[in-house]
Amino acid sequence: MVDDETALGKRILEILGEYEELELEDVTLEAEELVFRVIPGMLAAALPPAAKARIPTSLIEQKFELPIEKYPGEIVEVQFGATKAEGGSRKKVVKIGGEKAPAFYRFEFMNPNRPVVTFDVFDMPISLPKPVTEHFEDVMSDPADWAKKAVNEFGADLVTVHLISTDPYIKNTPAKEAAKVIEDVLQAVDTPILIGGSGNPDKDPEVLEAAAAVSEGERLMLNSASLNLDWKRIVEAAKKYGHNVLSWTQLDVNNQKKLNKLILEAGLPKNRIVQDATTAALGYGLEYSFSIYERIRLSALRGDADLQMPLSSGTTNAWGAREAFMSDKKKGAEWGMQRFRGPIWEAVTALALALVGCDVFMMIHPASAQIFKTFIEYLSSQKKEEIPPLLNWVTARV
């Protein structure tokens, strides 16, 4: 029960209490060690539950020691956006990373930057579930309007513009033409933006390069460098035009480390790299993402220099889960109202990854983003809200 004798001795002194009587059962007393300093009740407290004593007459007062640790490593701080003075045109910049302790271990350290939400915007109308489109259908034909709405109405910290129309199998929009959309969005909003390609490995390097060129100095993020495409070209574009790069791998810590290393060796500074180890949605492998993000963050804090970059999540993936996208007509009777079921699916996917250290969340539904941001605010605030006594829940007539 007790680690060693010293601890036992110390514990005994700590937990002295008053007892009416002592009844020892199944306890071997070694008199030499304990002599007669045994005070009734003391042993029972030290050796629960084998020793059955009557209930103490007064509380055995204890002190809870905060289990605080120090970490040799820390996460670099990455900045999205550049102000005029910094060579860009953004009114606001967004900083992420800089953690010195695991996420929301406030008792150890209040990490300097909170996780941020970036809204997904696409350069052409795409098929999305109805609960999402009902918030955006008026702006889906214009990425600049879409971005504006995300920032002005839904409090987006950032927006990510996905140039999906460049996919040869979709519209095959030429890279230069697609890059114009980036200029439009930069005009439309004053927040930093992130740039996504179409996911086509042959075309993306060219598209991201063109987008990087038209936004020189803005310190955006190019999504993504990955092992199955010409990531060097993307990294070179980021170096040349002053942007960040997302290092994206698929649910594999070793590959993540490998790609980060390659990007570092190619000369992009550590504070311009963000990692994405892939988000599997709630119910569709979230546990793998959860543990991989957690392992990456813990390894980084324990000193693995190749993993000490902030983490990003493509949370919108959660809408690919049938629990999120299937309508009430089909599934409402079994799964409940989609109005809540959809957004909570996306929000909980974000939540789980935020709790293991993820810093950037690419999201799409305003209600998901809102509850998630509220949660982060409540966890990060220095203030303390006055709340009614918590134990009143027992008598709440609800």
């Binding site: 007790v2 020793a51 809870f64 709630l282 949660f375």
Partner: protein, 589 residues
Amino acid sequence: MARLKPLDIYNYLPKTNCGECGLESCMAFAYKLIEHELEVEDCKPLATDPKLKKAFKDLKELVTPPVRPVKFGGDGNEVTIGGEEVMYRHELTYFNPTAIAVCVHDEMTEEELIKNVKLIDGWTVFRVGASLKLDAVAVKSVSRDPAKFAKAVKLVAENTKLPLILCSLDPACLRAGVEVVKGRKPLLYAATRDNWREVAEIALNAGCPVVVTSPGDLDTLKSLSATLSSAGIQVALDPGTAWGEGVLADTIDSFTMLRRAAIERGDKLVGWPLVGVPATLWIGKEEASEGEKLETAFKETFLAAALICRYADLLIINSKELWTFLTLATLRQNIYTDPRIHPAVEPGLFAVGNPNEDSPVMITTNYASTASVVRSDLEQSKIDAWLVIINTEGIGVEASAAGGQLNAAKIADAINEYKVAEKVRHRALIIPGLAARFAGELEDASGWDVYVGPKDSGSIPDFLKSKYRPRDGIRYTGDPDEKSPVILVTNNIKDFYRVKVPLMNEGISAWILVVDADGLPVKEAVEAKKLTEETVKAFMQREDVEKKVSHRELIVPEEAAPIKEKIEKVTGWKVTVVPCEKLTEKIKK
């Protein structure tokens, strides 16, 4: 903490391989003990032989995890909370999934009470090979009237076998409640700094575990734990669950600190299950509007989800929304999945149901949950199919299609390697909607026709019914010219390939006219008048068939015999009726 090895345990066992535990050897028993699948008490000789009393006690001590397991509920309907060994699931696994308890109270009408209990008791959703369920009913004493509470507890107990949690800070109510459910071993909520002595007495008399609570004060919480456990009472710790600026951080901090102290610092006095109470969000919501109540449920679900990720072993919630249950039970299933089991399943060709040579061939990845969802969707819809599981290194469709682990060449290789062509007489592959971008490349690489299936395997039945059809229009085999034969068929998968595949196999170049008949086979299409001389005529005109060939001979399957003359009459072509199996023979002649 170093993890126990079977040998560490073996030394305490009788080493007789008596088999009383149902296992072949004491070593096998040691393995099961480490995996929490059996308990020390399951070794009968060890538990009963007075000579082995010390070994029993020592072993019990040795295998007690840093967070002790606590059971409540009776009659074979127990739930175990706690029993955890690690802080982070990747270090080993989490063992006992967070139990989810839902509230009812003693001022509900009898009807309301029964309705709610039945809802909680009966809720279930089947996903990824398991039936998800709720674990307990928490009965609150809102009235603070012991008689009223006892009556409510009795009614609840009569309507469910689920374990119960009796909730009141008034010992008189708890005593009255326990009295009517003796033998059900309910969990008592709660002992506080004010009532602990009386609650401890009730617990000790009834043999029930107790939740100790002291919101925001971990010193008192630990003191309560030390005090009650010193009397042999099993406890669970509620450090307070709060939603609000700053106080939420206190909550998350408390859960994290308590778990770390127990597991990494060996603080036995907090080595007990942790209880989260998201139901605190409902304080003051008695008169709230429907909208506000839904919003409260939304926040409560979110807070509960956070605590599933952060060490709660038991959650008490108030929302009765189906989406709350679905979200929490799914998250819990994810987080408590054993990470030691690799997410990849064996790649290969698998029969789902009883497929035959005309059954569809579907492609998916070897990510365990994708493969199992596709399989169970097919099984539930009673679809017989061939499932080709591609080795994507255990990565799901969307990520592997993007990351290159799933590609056209790999699928084509798998089709050859697994000899799929020997199982079916068609040449149609159904690929996941999320892999649509390979369709063209895959047709070139494999020589099979590719059909892009739905993004979600739940829609496969609809897809097969309404979309799994050969494209209508002029299709061909080989490299046909103006002298090549012309064969007519409907856009039915089976009939189309009954025509196409023999031609392909014999290396015959031919034109195939695929007429849209809503996917019906030729026979039914003729009967339903979807394939008539008029539709054939319209097709020939629209597609300009006369420009393709210099002859005017049309071959039709024998099922179209009834309309042979009519077609000849309206088109002016000579029509030959041939049974499909004799098609190539006939053409060669």
